[in-house]
Symmetry: C2
Subunit: 256 residues, 2 copies
């Protein structure tokens, strides 16, 4: 949850919104606990300094490309990031293996730092699953927090979703006539990606959508309207669950 460009307060707001999403999708409070680095700093800091003692600047530099101008918070941060890998072992007082789901950009923390020091500290090496990046709506599937129009947020209104999807980068042609002739380009279309990863569960139907698009039988307007309606149906349910989650959040949060 660290972003050097955000204030602590902004980080906390994002963390809070993330917690609501996690609870809203149905995690079991008996098996789930959530903490933020700063609110759980006492426990994490103790583990992080163990990790940091075994991590030289050379190592951190090789793993993350740090330079002399890197600030000392970023240099220490990999140790904080690695700490949750060992937290279950510390809390249970025995070796507890962990599995970390994260996108590939987080890989250096687990592979370069946490796994490198684990055994020297007497903890099991953490394992990881590389998750797919959720595609964005910008050209090339880019998503950026500084360009909110390139991503649909779980807090977006129906109107916002309609607008974002309507403006999403697609593989459509300049004119309807051209598209009917040449077909669309689902392989570069962010709308198609949204169906593929999130909003079309049926494998046959997703193949079919590729087909009708690339052969010019499906126009972008219709395809986008259908996606927006699926996104909105999901968000309506999800946002209701988020409201409920606000009352349940204390069951999930761990402080020390």
């Amino acid at each position: 949850m660290y972003n050097p460009n955000l204030s602590l307060e902004q980080t906390h707001n994002f963390a809070y919104e993330n917690m609501l999403d996690i609870i809203a999708v149905g995690f079991d409070p008996k098996k789930t606990f959530i903490f933020t680095d700063t609110d759980y700093a006492k426990s994490l800091y103790k583990i992080a300094i163990e990790v940091a003692k075994k991590t030289t600047f050379s190592t951190a530099k090789a793993v993350f490309g740090f330079t002399n101008e890197t600030n000392t918070g970023m240099i220490f941060f990999p140790a904080i990031q690695a700490a949750p890998c060992f937290l279950p072992s510390v809390l249970k007082g025995k070796e507890v293996p962990v599995l970390i789901p994260a996108a590939i950009d987080q890989d250096p923390y687990w592979r370069g730092i946490a796994r490198a020091v684990a055994e020297r500290l007497g903890y099991p090496k953490p394992a990881q699953i590389h998750c797919m990046f959720l595609p964005g709506l910008g050209e090339g599937g880019k998503m950026s927090a500084s360009q909110p129009e390139t991503a649909i947020f779980t807090t977006d209104t129906e109107e916002t979703v309609n607008k974002k999807v309507a403006n999403a980068f697609s593989g459509g042609r300049a004119t309807t006539a051209e598209q009917k002739l040449k077909g669309g380009q689902p392989e570069v279309c962010t709308v198609y990606q949204y169906y593929y990863y999130l909003f079309e569960e049926d494998d046959e139907k997703i193949k079919e959508r590729f087909q009708v698009c690339s052969t010019g039988k499906l126009m972008c307007r219709e395809c986008k309207a259908e996606l927006a309606s699926r996104v909105n149906a999901f968000l309506k349910k999800h946002q209701a669950a988020r409201e409920k989650a606000k009352k349940e959040i204390s069951k999930f949060i761990l402080k020390d």
Copy 2:
């Protein structure tokens, strides 16, 4: 309280003993609060990351002589060390100037880090008093945690004190005859230093002791026996106060 060669547990034990000493010498619980970096990590960490963000590796390197082989815990540590300078401002929600008493070896933390970032973070610059090093009993007045015989600890027994003082490096000559002839050398004598800094409050008497020693009228055995007796008188009282402090410690300790 950071020493990279000590485990967390050892650090905590030293911290606990230090707390007892502070309370035993009579600090007022209404005006005093004591914390350890690890038990108060939640509050300190939040301030430390503000400091660390404004401190590049270049700066830390220039101030502390860090190299690429320095571990990332030591690199971050100056930010943790600086955090208490700003803690009163954070706790009171307004600018609270602080004055730090510390030995000169700690100077780089306040001057090189805390004072350098204070104004950019909206805190007043900390002020400092350089305290004298307490002299040790080894040759040259050295004191080392790994050589317990070079220092008198507040937990030492009477017997241990007698032994340590008897073995202290003094300015004495090889034989009594030689000492009577040439005089002792109070200017290199650790026993004299102990009187000077701690166990002779009367300025006239300390001058007199210098005089009788350097003119060969005072022999080391006698001078050491007198010091040991003064140290033991102090420790008897201090150790009783330490016992009492154990019951009062919770009034002083701040956790978060």
